[in-house]
């Protein structure tokens, strides 16, 4: 370990410079107006939570949690996601007031880097949670909202891939001989290791009908266009019917073109009990966000209620959003000492026109030319200029 230099920040921590700050604020504003117009109420939760409550319940791997100890010796975590704190506050307080809840958030979450940089350890997340509604309409609302939200940011090229934990479990159970085999295959799907999946299927020595079905499933499962394509692999069950209804609702909303089915989609957390999805957009190498139904998490907090939602990463959103130049005109007012009153007056009149005005004394400037370059227009308040 080399000693820490004065300019260094902890691994993955980043400064937000003015350009990024403005872009983030714009995203916040668009998102806020959009979600409030759909009846979502914004809430905030503390940055620190107990490890035993939120830390353990969270879907984020233990090694990625920032842990600290409070003065009583309790282990605390910096919140690694927003879904878990919202589940905590909803089950303990809000659900008693009104059912169902529609909550939204825009907050920073913290995930420690294990190996290398290139990724932030603190980043903004924007999302919604619908808590207390078990119907398919809540899931449809989540998917429709995420699509419309992404469109509201001016992004055209994106895709939502949807799967269902129940459908996948049914397939894995029906075509294997033991729970261990099913679990092995599910782990390989979480890792997206399709080669490993095929190898595992062959190593199980399953009856030929079963192994053939699994191999065919894995080669087709990420390319299903319609829900009918999956029907030959699963017996009729609730999960399948649920997905049929969900796809119909998305069709009614005329958003089918943005949606693809992927029944290999699986999460390492077992509280994703139903529909789950991922959001991808051209322009970022990483998924923009994800979501799904997580009734199991509320159960963890001692409450039997349905919950569904999504979260989008703001840092990746910024990579994807088409950049546009600012429409506000910036003016630099450079004044001579004696004319301060005149300069104030000039600046205020421009501000009233809605322009962004910087007031700067000539005395405080070292390089006037370099300073002037930062503005669309520069106005000098000096004796000679006034004389003109």
């Amino acid at each position: 370990m080399s000693s820490i230099k004065m300019f260094e920040k902890p691994l993955g921590m980043r400064d937000t410079f003015p350009v990024t700050y403005e872009k983030t604020e714009e995203v916040r504003q668009i998102g806020r107006e959009f979600l409030r117009a759909r009846g979502f109420d914004f809430i905030q939760t503390p940055s620190l939570e107990y490890f035993d409550t939120v830390g353990k319940a969270s879907a984020i791997y233990d090694a990625a949690l920032f842990k600290l100890v409070d003065s009583q010796g309790n282990t605390l975590v910096l919140r690694p996601d927003m879904t878990t704190p919202i589940a905590r506050v909803a089950t303990s307080k809000l659900l008693k007031e009104k059912i169902p809840l529609r909550l939204a958030y825009f907050a920073n979450v913290f995930r420690a880097q294990q190996t290398e940089g290139g990724r932030p350890a603190e980043f903004g997340q924007m999302g919604i949670e619908i808590i207390g509604d078990e119907s398919v309409f809540a899931d449809a609302e989540v998917i429709i909202t995420v699509i419309h939200l992404i469109q509201a940011f001016g992004i055209d090229s994106f895709k939502i891939t949807i799967g269902h934990a129940g459908v996948l479990n049914c397939i894995l159970k029906d075509y294997t001989e033991s729970t261990e085999q099913a679990d092995t295959l599910r782990t390989l799907l979480v890792e997206r290791n399709y080669v490993g999946f095929e190898e595992a299927v062959e190593s199980f020595n399953l009856p030929k009908t079963k192994s053939d079905a699994l191999l065919q499933f894995i080669s087709e499962a990420t390319n299903f266009v319609t829900i009918q394509d999956i029907e030959k692999y699963v017996r009729k069950n609730d999960a399948l019917e649920y997905m049929q209804q969900l796809m119909e609702l998305i069709e009614v909303a005329q958003l089918s073109e943005y949606v693809a089915l992927d029944f290999t989609l699986s999460s390492h957390m077992n509280y994703y009990t139903g529909m789950l999805f991922e959001v991808f957009a051209t322009g970022s190498g990483f998924a923009l966000g994800n979501g799904g139904r997580y009734d199991g998490l509320l159960h963890h907090f001692g409450c039997e209620a349905g919950a569904t939602g999504f979260g989008i990463r703001v840092d990746r959103l910024l990579e994807v959003i088409p950049s546009k130049s600012s429409t506000v005109q910036s003016i630099g007012v450079i004044f001579e000492e004696a004319l301060f009153a005149k300069a104030l007056e000039t600046a205020n009149s421009y501000r009233q026109e809605g322009k962004q005005v910087t007031l700067q004394s000539r005395k405080g400037l070292v390089d006037e030319k370099a300073f002037a370059k930062h503005f669309d227009e520069v106005v000098y308040v000096s004796r000679e200029d006034l004389a003109k």
Partner: protein
Amino acid sequence: MSHLTIAMPKGRIFEEAYQMLIEAGFNLPEEVEMSRKLMIEIPEEQIRFILAKPTDVPVYVEHGVADIGIAGKDTLLELRRNVHELLDLKISQCYIASAGLPNTQMNEIAPRIATKYPNIAMNYYKEIGEQVEIIELNGSIELAPMIGLADRIVDIVSTGRTLKENGLVEYERITDVSSRLIANPVSYRMKSARIQELVSRLKKIVS
């Protein structure tokens, strides 16, 4: 047709994989000038190859600067990058094994393992219930047991000749290794048709 960036490992695997792509019917020039160029554009097929150190291919693919890539299973296991593993190309097949001096036991107190695959080695010994100490080396791993730096080495074995010439014997076979076609998760979705087509054409060549 969307543009595709393919990260390829420099050297022998590049040539083999490139031949596979030609066999799969891609319109690529027979001879590529492999001088010091790191990028090769194939405008006819809307393909760009980037030539990377083999162990770096998963990094390029994970970050999405390459849509797909060809990487050894050893590298994938060691780095555990977030990429989709699509196809076993069955080229450059070999395996990872532990080896050491003949008829030796591992040190009981703190067995030492020399390897350039610290994660694979650590995971393997954890699985079999042995706590070991890993010594990371970058090459000539066979030296370690010979001069008493380690009890065992964990390394890639293709013919076993290097082990034999240095008087070492293989102890446990850990895992099989071959080159895999990998994809970035976002590209896999956004360029799905193109990648799927490439996979199915290559699949026919493999089997």
